[in-house]
């Protein structure tokens, strides 16, 4: 690898093709092999498998069925609920997480006594595992012996079914996930807030702007790039929600909390149906693509106004 040419040509070697034609590709080789084998191969397999049918006995392909798997899953009410729930998770997570993170970021941005305590607590929740926090919240949600109902009971309020109630289970899971994951957009917003020049606020204050006006006219527009990033991250988090659902409700009651991630997991591992599992995975990726594309379209449109 040692260059052997005259000093006058050294500059060209560094950026030019000679020495790097080998070194560059060699250095990315481990990553590229892993990328091809463990990311793209499964992804392509999933797309191809969604167009085939499989023997239930030995999992071998029994031929191409076109869009047969897709018409099968769309005929399955459980899938249609899972599709709907996936959108519900995304909408609820965005609607709760982003404003809360924004609020907390503004609160934490000022250096006050208690800032460190609150920030450490948020980071702690973020660093704890989904599985463990789901197990802890599962105990707190427990309808007959759980802490939340104990508190409601002590306050003379009606106790709630939480995870066992068809209409409450999904919201209960979302609340737990917001508690756990709000830290990520919050930290992104905090970094964004710290990048805003202080002079902007001071100038606005001198002009007699109140806190709300400063937030609306200075902070929010300046935070725009951070908000775009946070929207994407929360959308991905919400689309892939899985572990808390599996641990807290297994998708129940009656499929009320099943999303596409769980549906495809159940199809693939419980029902050993690779074709429909793959088809629902493709649908999940399609949902993710549609939502993120819609977001970037909407946000771009706003910027041009």
């Amino acid at each position: 690898m040692q260059p052997t040419t005259a000093p006058a040509r050294k500059k060209r070697q560094w950026t030019g093709p000679n020495s790097n034609m080998i070194l560059g590709p060699a250095m990315i080789l481990p990553a590229v092999v892993a990328l091809a084998l463990f990311q793209y191969l499964p992804l392509i397999t999933a797309v191809l498998n969604s167009l085939q049918s499989f023997s239930p006995f030995d999992q071998s392909s029994t031929g191409w069925v076109g869009l047969g798997n897709y018409s099968d899953i769309f005929a399955d009410p459980a899938f249609r609920y899972a599709l709907l729930n996936t959108f519900l998770y995304i909408v609820l997570m965005l609607a709760l997480t982003i404003p809360l993170a924004l609020l907390l970021a503004v609160l934490l941005d000022r250096r006050l006594p208690g800032t460190t305590w609150a920030r450490n607590a948020v980071i702690g929740a973020l660093a704890a595992s989904e599985a463990v926090t789901a197990l802890i919240w599962n105990q707190m949600y427990e309808p007959s012996s759980g802490l939340f109902n104990a508190i409601l009971h002590a306050a003379s309020l009606p106790t709630q079914p939480f995870l066992t109630g068809g209409s409450q289970a999904l919201v209960s899971i979302v609340v737990m996930t917001v508690w756990k994951d709000v830290g990520l957009p919050l930290l992104i917003f905090l970094a964004g807030l710290q990048a805003i020049p202080r002079e902007l606020h001071e100038a606005a204050q001198l002009d007699g702007a109140n806190d709300w006006q400063i937030f609306r006219k200075i902070t929010l527009p300046q935070l725009r790039p951070s908000i775009v990033v946070a929207l994407f991250m929360v959308t991905i988090t919400a689309t892939r929600m899985f572990t808390p659902i599996l641990i807290m409700t297994q998708g129940g009651p009656q499929g009320a909390t099943t999303n596409l991630a769980l549906y495809s997991y159940l199809q693939g591992f419980e029902f050993q149906s690779q074709g429909t599992a793959s088809a629902s995975v493709v649908c999940m990726l399609a949902v993710l693509a549609i939502v993120t594309l819609a977001q970037s379209y909407l946000l771009r449109g706003q910027q041009e106004k």
């Binding site: 990328l35 463990v132 926090t133």
Partner: protein, 297 residues
């Protein structure tokens, strides 16, 4: 009494008055901060408290609400004793540690090598490969888990330790992070070494790598925490109970029919979570930077 200590005293005095003024002026905000901290810290602290209660106390003591809903009035270590003697939980912790160390090693190797190549070297299709890499940030593991399992099966790796971390050897986040760090090194440093006759590989090891130590620390921490917390993939790929990681072992305690394991469950959750939470808070400078950079494309 010297002049400098006098000014120090005066500054302290000002500081104290300023703090008192801050308390009065921002009383509502400070109260709010205290509440926010309590809300976010509560579930984990409550689990740690409950791990010191017997399983019976946990089941009967929480409802209706009383002091024993929150604090262990008859504190006991029996859950931990049971966890580490009967359930052999140290075995699971060791497995988690093995998986996390494996994950950190492969991620550091692939990310620093590829990150440097993407940042500093020119070769054909570089930007295409980088684009394909970043695209996978949008593909969650939940989406590819069924075919990924088939591939591991085909490689003969099901229920082996490498199966726990090898599929995540290439992660877009790590490579992106390292690429940014290598880009921030002044080109002049590498130029100087090159003029002294150092080979590109030598420059990578003796100039570039030592200059990105803080970013390497971020990468190690993020990958370690990520692997420590992994649940779904180990659940699927590890069918040998002796090699199962802690997160899955804890979740299994939830569903033992007719024998409630709430005490050991809280103890295991505490043993796995508290050290990690403390680590993330102590090293939050690195942790937060890693999380925020991962979002800043």
């Amino acid at each position: 009494m010297t002049a400098s200590s006098l000014t120090l005293q005066a500054e302290n005095g000002i500081d104290r008055t300023a703090r008192r003024a801050a308390f009065l002026h921002h009383g509502a905000s400070i109260l709010l901060l205290a509440v926010v901290g309590a809300v976010f810290a509560f579930p984990i602290l409550w689990a740690a408290m409950s791990s010191l209660k017997s399983t019976d106390d946990i089941i009967t003591g929480t409802y209706p609400l009383s002091w024993s809903s929150f604090v262990p009035l008859k504190a006991t270590l029996e859950n931990y004793v049971y966890l580490f003697s009967e359930l052999n939980f140290q075995r699971n912790l060791l497995n988690t540690l093995i998986a996390a160390c494996g994950q950190v090693s492969v991620a550091v190797i692939t990310s620093s090598l590829a990150g440097y190549a993407f940042a500093r070297l020119n070769f054909p299709f570089r930007d295409v490969v980088f684009g394909l890499l970043l695209l996978t940030a949008f593909v969650p593991v939940e989406a590819i888990i069924v075919p990924l399992y088939r591939i591991m099966h085909w490689l003969g790796l099901v229920s082996t330790y490498p199966a726990l971390f090898l599929p995540f050897a290439c992660n877009p986040f790590g490579i992106f992070l390292m690429r940014q760090a290598f880009r921030d090194i002044p080109v002049e440093m590498e130029e100087a070494a090159r003029l002294d006759g150092a080979s590109p590989l030598r420059i990578f090891f003796s100039i570039a790598l030592p200059n990105v130590r803080p970013t390497l620390a971020t990468l190690v921490l993020i990958q370690f925490i990520w692997s420590w917390n992994a649940y779904l993939w180990p659940l699927v790929i590890m069918q040998d109970p002796n090699k199962q990681i802690a997160q899955v072992a804890i979740a299994n305690l939830k569903s033992i029919p007719n024998s409630p394991m709430d005490g050991p469950l809280f103890a295991a959750a505490t043993a796995v979570t508290i050290p990690l939470v403390i680590l993330s808070i102590v090293l939050q400078r690195y942790y937060v930077r890693g999380l925020v950079t991962s979002g800043m494309k």
